[in-house]
């Protein structure tokens, strides 16, 4: 799978910047306490932490599904904590998300599910179809283009969800446990897809507790524990093709 279009100068200097961000759900404890970090264009990170540490919550803040209780969040050089509601859809279209629970629409086929982001962006129907079925073939679902999610295995659903997240060639890709339901082989294949995207400038964050994944592919790691985030650089360079241009982020704290 090749994402052909490459662009010249990036449209923005910063993809994500958290400044002393705190988050608590109503009458619960603080999930995030004081989190600061920066993601630059073209960076590639793992987001790790024990179950319930707040990984999904952190991603939610990034895909604008949640507002922080305190602190400031800058996305694509814009302060989203102060942004107007009608500016958010534009920002969201630059972000691709693989949800931990897939969130596929059960009444649509795999093809239609993956096509959604293109439809919303107003793409032509012809273009959509060719593009979508190529991508689905790449994740190994060429035989199930017309299958509805309830008839797919969980690993298949996850791959549809991944295809939907990347189809729009987002500037920021957030994947929540994207290999939790697929085996290592397919997991590595998915990672290669993410690397392709990363090569053309997409910033990637993968939340996972799959230590084998983290230890196979050496990437800087955003580690969440007890509401705080620390950045860890890999011990040595990536053992994979060396194509993931992971830019060390200037982490906060």
């Amino acid at each position: 799978m090749r994402f052909c279009a490459t662009r010249g100068a990036p449209e923005f200097v910063l993809v994500v910047r958290f400044e002393h961000v705190g988050l608590r759900y109503e009458n619960g404890p603080n999930v995030l306490d004081d989190v600061s970090f920066t993601l630059e264009p073209g960076s590639f990170h793992f987001l790790t932490g024990p179950s319930g540490a707040g990984k999904t919550s952190l991603l939610k803040l990034m895909y604008l599904a949640q507002r922080p209780t305190k602190g400031r969040i800058v996305m694509f050089d814009r302060d989203v904590t102060a942004a107007k509601r009608r500016d958010l859809p534009g920002l969201r279209r630059r972000i691709g998300v693989v949800f931990q629970d897939f969130r596929l629409l059960n009444h649509l086929t795999a093809l239609e599910n993956v096509a959604l982001p293109l439809r919303i962006a107003g793409a032509k129907r012809r273009q959509i179809e060719a593009h979508v079925s190529e991508l689905l073939a790449w994740v190994g679902l060429s035989g199930q283009l017309e299958a509805k999610p309830p008839t797919l295995s969980d690993g298949e659903k996850q791959r549809v969800a991944i295809a939907r997240a990347v189809i729009g060639r987002p500037r920021l890709l957030l994947a929540d446990e994207p290999t939790g339901n697929i085996d290592l082989d397919q997991g590595l294949r998915v990672l290669r897809l993410f690397e392709e995207l990363n090569k053309i400038g997409t910033t990637v964050v993968i939340a996972t507790h799959d230590r084998s994944l983290v230890s196979t592919i050496r990437l800087p790691e955003l580690r969440l524990a007890e509401g705080r985030l620390t950045v860890h650089q890999p011990a040595r360079a990536q053992p994979t093709e060396g194509s993931t241009r992971a830019v060390p982020s200037r982490g906060g704290l």
Partner: protein
């Protein structure tokens, strides 16, 4: 391999038939209530129109022999009446007519020629004019001693009150059905949206604008409301025509014959549109409310 028209696929919705049916039923009931109200109102208006602006002037009875002599007096009274402001017409009831009325009570052929029968003059007033009856009475009595005005005031009054009550009741029913329609459409739309909550949330999260989402719901609901409303109206038209045929057989109460060309009935044709507009507004507000609750 093809892409569906709309990602919400609302036309495959299980609530679809329900929405259509309920809107149809409400339009049906509203149409019947409006027609019923119109009919009763019109009927009573006719009844009271028959009486309103009607006076009867009565002259002392004369026997058959004195009838010719009485004609002069009758003419005097009629011309006095016609000169009075507000009187539209005055007509003496022919003796024959009076006799036939009396025969009802006295039996045919039982009326002796020497029975002194009063002369009755039917007076029509111009609509909306109130005449000083006391003054008229005095003037008439001066011209023809014994002339008396008998007023239908009491009966008229009763009928007018009845007409108002019935019209108020009809209005109340129409309002009630209308409110029920709004409530039902609101509830059904909300239930539909609750079913689609996850879809709406996902579309929102991947960057769909509110308009994009609302449009699909509105288009769907309006279509269903129009179809349901039109079917409901057709059913109502069928029922009304059926009842009209039955009513036409019965003229005891002087029901007005129903004509579908009646402008007020033509207004009924807009009911499906009204339903569609209610549905549209409800759907738009509900979707907007649901979207406002999202981040």
């Amino acid at each position: 391999m093809s892409l569906a028209r709309s990602e919400l696929q609302l036309h495959r919705d299980p609530t679809r038939r329900m929405v259509g049916f309920l809107i149809g039923a409400m339009v049906y009931l509203a149409a019947l209530a409006v027609t019923g109200g119109l009919m009763v109102g019109t009927t009573i208006n006719r009844w009271s129109d028959d009486l309103r602006g009607n006076l009867t002037v009565q002259l002392p009875g004369v026997t058959a022999a004195g009838a010719a002599e009485a004609t002069g007096r009758i003419d005097t009274v009629v011309s006095t009446l016609l000169e009075t402001q507000g009187v539209a017409g005055a007509r003496a009831l022919p003796r024959r007519e009076l006799l036939s009325l009396l025969e009802r009570w006295l039996g045919r052929g039982n009326i002796p020629d020497d029975l002194p029968i009063p002369a009755l003059i039917d007076v029509t007033l111009e609509p909306g004019v109130r005449i000083d009856l006391d003054d008229l009475q005095r003037r008439l009595a001066r011209e023809v001693p014994g002339a008396r005005i008998s007023d239908n005031g009491i009966v008229l009054d009763r009928l007018v009150r009845l007409a108002h009550s019935v019209q108020a009741a009809a209005l109340a029913i129409v309002l009630l059905v209308g409110l029920a329609a709004v409530a039902i459409i609101t509830f059904v739309t909300r239930a539909g949206l609750a079913m689609h909550h996850e879809t709406i949330e996902l579309l929102h999260l991947i960057g769909a604008r509110n308009n994009y989402i609302a449009r699909q719901f509105v288009r769907h609901v309006v279509g269903v409301a129009l179809v349901g409303g039109i079917l409901g109206l057709l059913a109502a038209a069928g029922t009304i025509l059926g009842l009209a045929r039955v009513a036409a057989d019965i003229d005891v109460f002087r029901w007005p014959t129903i004509s579908l060309a009646d402008p007020q009935l033509v207004a009924l044709l807009t009911l499906p549109l009204v339903a569609a507009v209610i549905a549209m507004v409800t759907a738009r507000l509900t979707v907007a409310g649901a979207l406002r609750r999202l981040p």
